[in-house]
């Protein structure tokens, strides 16, 4: 376990593993999304009240999940950075932040679009919606802080502290629907029990799109992290070797012989 964590903490190992995982991830994600979208949009039955409008659920709920997941991940990485000084943790935290912000934005936009027909307004200042908006601001704040600090190490740690402080908003989002009487609905009961008010035909596609989104998230995460790793380790031997072999490969493939 520790061994494994230690390895994950090594950028080089992360880079190579990332390369190995990516093609699989692309495949699985594509499959999940295609199945989920076709099933969700084409085959699951219209809701007894909302008709077809409810299908935004296949976008909205995964986006909301991603928002929370991203922030949890950033918080974990921040803790890892501050406590164990794992460099890789910062790379991941940096890679996740914009993805999380985009997911939050997607959640807000899809929710607003959904609200127009359903509630009769695209925006209302209830606790769930407001705390979600604040979450977006927190994501942007973290990104802004990182871009403002020139020294990379300081930026990493400062963002980590801010992330941990910002963590207080997550339970507020989560429980806002219970603590306050919001216009936004409470959590839907998505269990396989027969008595469940939500039949599987409706929410199983949501699982597909949900996992598809998670796949997309990890793809983004890996690509962005790899980018960052190359940038940070550009002086190290393994990156130089890697780039050389890549160049060589590209050269032989294209049949051009340049000596770069």
């Amino acid at each position: 376990m520790w061994q494994w964590l230690y390895k994950l903490g090594s950028p080089k190992w992360f880079y190579t593993i990332g390369n190995r995982v990516l093609p699989w991830l692309w495949g699985v994600t594509g499959l999940l999304l295609v199945v989920g979208i076709i099933w969700g949009l084409g085959f699951s039955p219209p809701d007894y009240q909302m008709g077809d409008n409810y299908r935004i659920i296949y976008l909205h709920v995964p986006a909301a999940g991603l928002m929370k997941g991203s922030f949890y991940m950033m918080a974990l990485c921040s803790a890892a950075l501050l406590i164990w000084k794992i460099k890789m943790a910062d790379i991941v935290a940096k890679a996740v932040a914009p993805i999380g912000a985009m997911a939050t934005l997607l959640m807000l936009v899809s929710g607003s679009l959904w609200g127009i027909p359903t509630w009769g307004t695209w925006w209302i200042w209830d606790a769930r919606l407001t705390s979600s908006l604040l979450q977006f601001f927190i994501f942007v704040g973290i990104i802004a802080l990182r871009s403002a600090i020139e020294s990379r190490d300081s930026a990493a740690k400062a963002c980590a502290v801010l992330t941990l402080v910002g963590l207080v908003n997550i339970p507020i989002i989560e429980y806002s629907v219970e603590w306050w009487n919001t216009l936004h609905q409470g959590a839907s009961d998505l269990s396989l029990r027969d008595s469940s008010a939500n039949p599987p035909e409706i929410w199983i596609p949501a699982f597909f799109t949900g996992f598809g989104f998670i796949g997309l998230f990890f793809i983004g995460l890996i690509l962005r992290s790899q980018n960052e790793i190359l940038l940070r380790e550009r002086r190290s031997q393994w990156v130089k070797d890697l780039l050389l072999t890549d160049n060589a490969k590209a050269d032989t493939e294209s049949g051009i012989n340049t000596n770069a």
Binding site: P117, P199, I202
Partner: protein, 151 residues
């Protein structure tokens, strides 16, 4: 040496004290109740005054919906929390989901007669999604059960 230990202890004690105080205060606050949203029961208990603008939440009582004027431009209905009702009157566009038996949230204020003059009506969607057939069968199963007034 001891002095430094004591300093650390002081910090830890201070933090524990602060957190404990915070928890106690939150519990007190929850006991006091914090309202952002009034139920018909609270309104009939006279918790809000006339003319003050606030938000009501409840269900549109079955069979209480009356549409008046051209194309139902003005609506009157009873909002209920299954214990008490409040009469709501509203003029303006309604959301698609607004119908009897559906959750509703209304902004507005009470007039002299105790009618809630709504300035905005929002339909609250519940957490259930199902196809029409499933709904029908569920309704059949549920029609026997009695709604309980919990307060």
């Amino acid at each position: 040496m001891l002095a430094h230990r004591q300093q650390k202890l002081a910090i830890v004690l201070f933090i524990i004290f602060g957190s404990a105080l915070a928890i106690g205060l939150v519990l007190f606050a929850l006991k006091e109740g914090i309202n952002v949203f009034y139920t018909p029961t609270e309104i009939s208990a006279g918790e809000v005054g006339q003319g003050q603008s606030f938000r009501v939440g409840g269900m549109v009582k079955m069979g209480s919906l009356v549409k008046e004027g051209l194309e139902g431009a003005e609506v009157n209905f009873l909002a209920t929390d299954f214990c008490n009702d409040v009469l709501v009157s509203y003029t303006g566009p309604l959301p698609d989901l607004f119908r009897e038996g559906q959750g509703v949230v209304a902004d507005g204020s009470l007039d002299n007669a105790g009618t809630f003059k709504a300035t905005q009506i929002l339909a609250k969607h519940d957490e259930n999604y199902m196809s029409a057939e499933v709904k029908a069968s569920l309704d059949a199963a549920e029609s026997a059960s009695i709604e309980v007034c919990h307060q």
